[in-house]
């Protein structure tokens, strides 16, 4: 029993080192993309977002929205779905658990 524990404890640094070498480049890639794509909007960008919403409403009123191609519509639908999924991630954070409410 003591031998087995000693063997495991001797392997832990190597395992952790291997985990570090594996994860460092991948974390760097993730950070490389996340730094540009996943940042929250700076206060200067919020008026631009409101402008874009107004543009959307206007395009719906003028009927230009009916002229989007199917490819564009699918792409926009996927992006909308992704934005809506962030709501559920927020809900998981707010309720303190992944599945169900821990009451």
């Amino acid at each position: 029993m003591a031998q087995a524990v000693k063997k495991v404890v001797n392997k832990v640094p190597a395992l952790v080192g291997a985990a570090l070498t594996y994860s460092k480049p991948r974390l760097a890639t993730f950070w490389h993309y996340a730094r540009v794509e996943l940042v929250p909007p700076s206060p200067a960008e919020i008026p631009k977002a409101i402008e874009a919403v107004k543009g959307l409403i206007r395009s719906y009123q003028t009927g230009r929205l009916g002229q989007t191609t199917v490819k564009d519509a699918i792409r926009n639908g996927l992006v909308t779905t992704e934005v809506l999924m962030w709501f559920y991630i927020g809900e998981c954070i707010g309720k303190g658990g992944i599945v169900g409410y821990d009451v």
Partner: protein, 135 residues
């Protein structure tokens, strides 16, 4: 009484998990410190030649891969406001559901007690009334 014991057990389990996590973090920090020292034979793969496991920035895929896309501000605001709304909604719903669940648990406990009491009385009565010669 049982609930107190269960809560104490949960607290102990949480404390043990926290201690294990702290130990793992300390081990990782120690390994990083060891790897920074030049005379360590075990982890020489972190230092040394360029073409070993050395993390070489220019050959990293992120320099040869697609540049990150410039997300439109509308999508960014929508995403993060959806996240915020989700957190608020989750917290509010949790606070709404918690007292209801506690009430239900209390009612269930009381009913269970009443039921067990009934069963006990029934058993006692049936034992007293069972009058057989096969005692």
């Amino acid at each position: 009484m049982m609930m107190m014991m269960m809560m104490m057990m949960m607290m102990m389990i949480i404390i043990i998990i926290i201690i294990i996590i702290i130990i793992i973090i300390i081990i990782i920090i120690v390994i990083i410190i060891i790897s920074c020292s030049a005379k360590s034979p075990i982890l020489h793969c972190f230092k040394g030649e360029k073409n070993y496991f050395r993390f070489d920035r220019k050959s990293h895929p992120s320099f040869n891969m697609v540049p990150p896309v410039a997300v439109s501000p509308l999508i960014k605001t929508a995403r993060w406001s959806a996240l915020l709304l989700g957190v608020i909604y989750g917290k509010q719903r949790f606070d709404y559901l918690k007292p209801i669940a506690e009430e239900e648990r209390r009612v269930e406990e009381a009913e269970k007690k009443a039921r067990e009491e009934q069963e006990r009385i029934y058993k006692q009565l049936s034992e007293a009334n069972s009058d057989t010669i096969l005692k």
